[in-house]
């Protein structure tokens, strides 16, 4: 049994972000990390490996050469090897292009479970898992708060409106997990040392049998404007007053905005 965890390198949450003149995120301008929600997918995969349900855990990323750092960090948490798809034609890739490329790489790696985080920190479309499943012609088990593998079946727990569902599909599947699968482990010093000896293979589009034209130059979409959010008026503060006065002021504030 084999899992491939897909990982995206993203700017750190607190880092300053800039757009380049062609309205792409300037990824060289900020500190980059493993997308925090992908770490939960790593954790879920490693737990399945430790339980003996899975023999092999690999990592896959698409991005610039520096995304290899994110793969090394994932290998420091555990797992066996990593694959990076990097190609100049993929700068500014959108959801469809990303899914197309990951799908081709996953076809080549042929895991039983292609595992992803539920969303990326920077874009939050959450479309890549479903689009990869559609392109590869596999069932999707999304937003799992737990993933189990038994025989030829993958089974997840997923929140519904008032409780949860158990959803099953025959392997192979594409799955995505939430932050309820368990807190991601820290890489140990031993893990960091071991990760240096693990294989990190780099693939171009051509290695996947794809061309720049075949992925529409990386995007079916284009950004026509990027701007700072509207400036909000400064925060009004109520402090150092008694509870009754504070309550009257809050109620006045709400009433002035027709909220009560």
């Amino acid at each position: 049994m084999k899992i491939v965890v897909c990982i995206k390198q993203v700017p750190a949450t607190a880092a300053e972000k800039r757009y380049t003149s062609d309205l792409r995120l300037d990824r060289s301008a900020s500190e980059n990390v493993i997308n925090p929600l992908d770490e939960y997918a790593v954790e879920q995969a490693l737990r399945l490996q430790e339980s003996g349900a899975v023999e092999n855990v690999s990592y896959l990323s698409m991005g610039p050469a520096q995304a290899g750092e994110a793969l090394r960090r994932a290998m420091a948490m555990g797992g066996d090897d990593a694959f990076l798809v990097t190609d100049d034609a993929l700068a500014g890739a959108d959801e469809w292009a990303t899914a197309r490329v990951l799908a081709a790489a996953l076809d080549k790696l042929a895991p039983d479970v292609s595992l992803m985080g539920m969303a990326s920190d920077d874009a939050r479309g959450s479309l890549v898992p479903g689009a990869v499943a559609a392109i590869r012609g596999l069932p999707l088990l999304s937003y799992a708060s737990e993933l189990r593998l038994e025989g030829n079946t993958a089974r997840i727990r997923r929140l519904n409106a008032s409780g949860f569902d158990i959803i099953e599909a025959p392997l192979p599947v594409v799955a995505s997990v939430t932050d309820q699968v368990g807190e991601p482990r820290y890489a140990s010093l031993k893990g960091i040392m071991a990760a240096r000896r693990k294989t990190l293979e780099t693939w171009s589009l051509a290695d996947l049998g794809l061309s720049a034209a075949g992925v529409q130059g990386g995007a079916l979409t284009r950004v026509v404007e990027a701007r700072a959010p509207e400036a909000k008026p400064p925060t009004e503060r109520i402090e150092n007053v008694g509870a009754d006065e504070a309550v009257t002021k809050i109620a006045d504030w709400l009433a002035a905005r027709k909220l009560i």
């Binding site: 899914a99 479309l127 559609a134 069932p139 999707l140 504030w253 909220l259």
Partner: protein, 326 residues
């Protein structure tokens, strides 16, 4: 490229979700700009019977994808067939887990440009234009399909981006989508557990009282529920409160919970970490009550009350009831 505006209309327990009514209104508005018609892709329990009723909310036609309580993505094959046959300008999908799954499947199956989660949508030069906050809302981007991109565009839409219109008298013209098998049908719900009575769907509430670590306990949430009831709204929570087991995860607001856009968000005992903020930063009015004068939420709230929540919340409930006259 067509001019019709398709939208996903989810049904459960025989009724359309609020997202279906919001998207019906939004689709009708966009169709007014593009010169086409609003068309529902209706799915889920009650869709077959209820689809015609979407006409009262703005849909000219409704295509029923299926009526079973299956994972929403099961309907992607028939949705893709309907989209291919109907050649719309755009497909609107609610930015909910089910809506995202179905939208993702359409993007993958048909190779379509994807946008959102949008907080505004317009038509410019015959193209769909989507406005969204990216990078935790630090940048607002406007996007459109690239030259030569296939049509339609698929746009995820945040809750409360469009307000449902007052129901009119119209009925949508209903047709049945052609059945189409995809591998997605292999995923099946084998058990379904209800843990609590279905609460007001948080994504659809216009008034939200959210509690965090400062609320301190499950019992502490009782006064928040009273305040929410007085406001006519719903209770939400931070991840810390859900992790502590004080409220179910269905009430969690934030990056890994619900993304809400209410008229009023009132945060109580919530510090305002970035992971929570991305779930509520589109709220029109943000009020925070926190005893820590340096809590991060104080930097982006519209009104920040530095006080002990237990001293304020019950009195505020009383005052709101008094002013509302009951």
């Amino acid at each position: 490229m067509g001019s019709d505006v398709f939208f996903l209309a989810e049904f459960s327990d025989g009724a359309p979700a609020r997202s279906a009514l919001e998207l019906a209104a939004g689709a009708a508005r966009i169709a007014g700009e593009s010169g086409g018609a609003a068309v529902a892709l209706a799915y889920g329990p009650g869709a077959a019977k209820g689809a015609a009723g979407l006409g009262a909310h703005g849909a000219k036609r409704a295509i029923v994808l299926g009526d079973d309580p299956a994972p929403a993505i099961t309907y992607s094959g028939s949705a893709a067939a309907a989209v291919k046959a109907g050649e719309p300008l755009v497909v609107l999908a609610p930015a909910t887990p089910n809506g995202r799954d179905l939208a993702a499947a359409l993007v993958g199956l048909l190779g379509l440009p994807a946008f959102g989660p949008a907080r505004a949508i317009s038509v410019a030069g015959g193209r769909i234009r989507s406005e969204q906050g990216t990078l935790q809302g630090t940048v607002i981007t406007l996007s459109e399909p690239a030259d030569g991109a296939p049509s339609p565009a698929v746009v995820l839409v945040l809750a409360n981006t469009f307000a449902p219109t007052e129901p009119g008298g119209g009925q949508a013209e209903v047709s049945q989508a052609e059945a189409a098998q995809t591998p997605f049908g292999a995923a099946m719900i084998v058990e379904s557990h209800a843990e609590q009575a279905a609460a007001v769907n948080l994504e659809e509430a216009t008034m939200i009282v959210a509690g965090g670590r400062g609320v301190g306990s499950e019992d502490g949430f009782a006064i928040l529920r009273d305040l929410a009831a007085a406001l006519g709204g719903a209770v939400g929570a931070s991840r810390a409160a859900a992790d502590a087991g004080w409220v179910p995860y269905q009430l969690q607001i934030g990056q890994t919970g619900k993304v809400v856009k209410p008229a009023l968000y009132l945060g109580v005992g919530i510090s305002g970490a970035i992971q929570h903020r991305v779930g509520m930063q589109s709220a029109e009015n943000v009020v925070a009550i926190n005893k820590d004068p340096d809590a991060p939420i104080g930097e982006f709230a519209d009104l920040f009350v530095v006080a002990d929540l237990f001293a304020i919340v019950p009195k505020l409930t009383e005052e709101i009831r008094r002013r509302k006259g009951n």
